[in-house]
Symmetry: C2
Subunit: 172 residues, 2 copies
DNA sequence: AAGATATGTCAACAAAGCTGACGTATTCGA
DNA sequence: TCGAATACGTCAGCTTTGTTGACATATCTT
């Protein structure tokens, strides 16, 4: 089978439906790697990793989130979460508030420093993504790119993003 | 762009340029997670992880690749690569051929089983991506989505994908 | 023959995921 | 009111996949 390109193109007989689209797959892989790479460099300065970033991001995005909600969004175990959460609290980027109606809950909030870092990271990533959107053809193209990303996700998660990264079971 | 967080919306004074686009960031995160999740389930059956997938993918995509070229594409250390490469060779998914003009080189090729698995995984991911492209508005929208992904990547990597996932220093 | 290059390997470590078990505080429900 | 369920935290140990640093071997280049 001829490699390097031939099988990613439509054949004359029209049977290209189940031929893998290697270009698209690899674009997604490399794009995501560079996308997270931006933040990685900043996080190094703080002694944090990607796991810290994800936790900080969602807490900053939706202050007052509980631990259970965060676990739902991240889909990791509480042990994994606790390791990084403890560090974020210890270094003063997140604070835990006792739930008012249910005192078992810990409402997670970013501190000032936490919000600053989260915003800084989000701006960095936004800059790259917006620059990429500019490569799309007009506002229709930009909207297409946004719809594409939403459509790649499983439907359950897609609802969450549109509703502000809220876990499905909470967002109803 | 009705997001759901005050800080993601354009302000009346028009200063929305450096406000983070949380929706876009999270779409990318969740989309990538679900995208790789498809393959993870299959890989489990073989006792392989994501690292094996990446190696197998690029070897299947460009048979005859050398170890150095693979390292260039993946951007990991030879020790990390060797661990998974050894397993892929041991289980009969990749074979190593001695370079003809330079016998120090190991030309990596997928075996029949390797090619089958690589294609199966690529088809699974292609199915999801193509379904997502269908959510874009027409062929112009689909092209916009493709351009978006290429534009998110660092330019160096983008050249590689267009040239068949070839590392920059080889593809010239 | 000397030095550079391509690859492989040993050892040790780190990040971030996992399972299983167990403890404590709090709330809920019969 | 009391026992079960829930929310959270923690201890211990394991896995995958990345990292450094050191060193060995074969081969090519000069």
């Amino acid at each position: 089978m001829p490699r390097s390109g031939v099988e990613t193109q439509a054949r004359p007989d029209g049977g290209s439906e189940d031929l893998p689209d290697y270009g698209l797959i690899e674009s997604f892989f490399f794009a995501y790697r560079d996308f997270v790479g931006d933040a990685d460099r900043i996080l190094l300065e703080y002694g944090f990793g990607r796991a810290h970033h994800r936790v900080l991001h969602f807490v900053a995005r939706r202050p007052g989130m509980t631990v259970a909600e965060l676990l739902d969004v991240l889909r990791i175990t509480k042990q994994s979460l606790n390791r990084v959460l403890k560090e974020l609290v210890g270094k003063g980027f997140i604070r835990q508030e006792e739930g008012r109606d249910d005192r078992r809950r810990r409402l997670l909030h970013p501190t000032e420093a936490g919000r600053d870092l989260a915003v800084r990271l989000a701006q960095l990533q936004t800059r790259r993504l917006r620059a990429a959107l500019a490569a799309c053809d007009g506002s229709a193209g930009r909207e297409a790119a946004r719809r594409f990303l939403l459509a790649v996700m499983d439907p359950r998660g897609a609802r969450g993003v549109q509703d502000g990264a809220r876990p499905a079971r909470i967002g109803r």
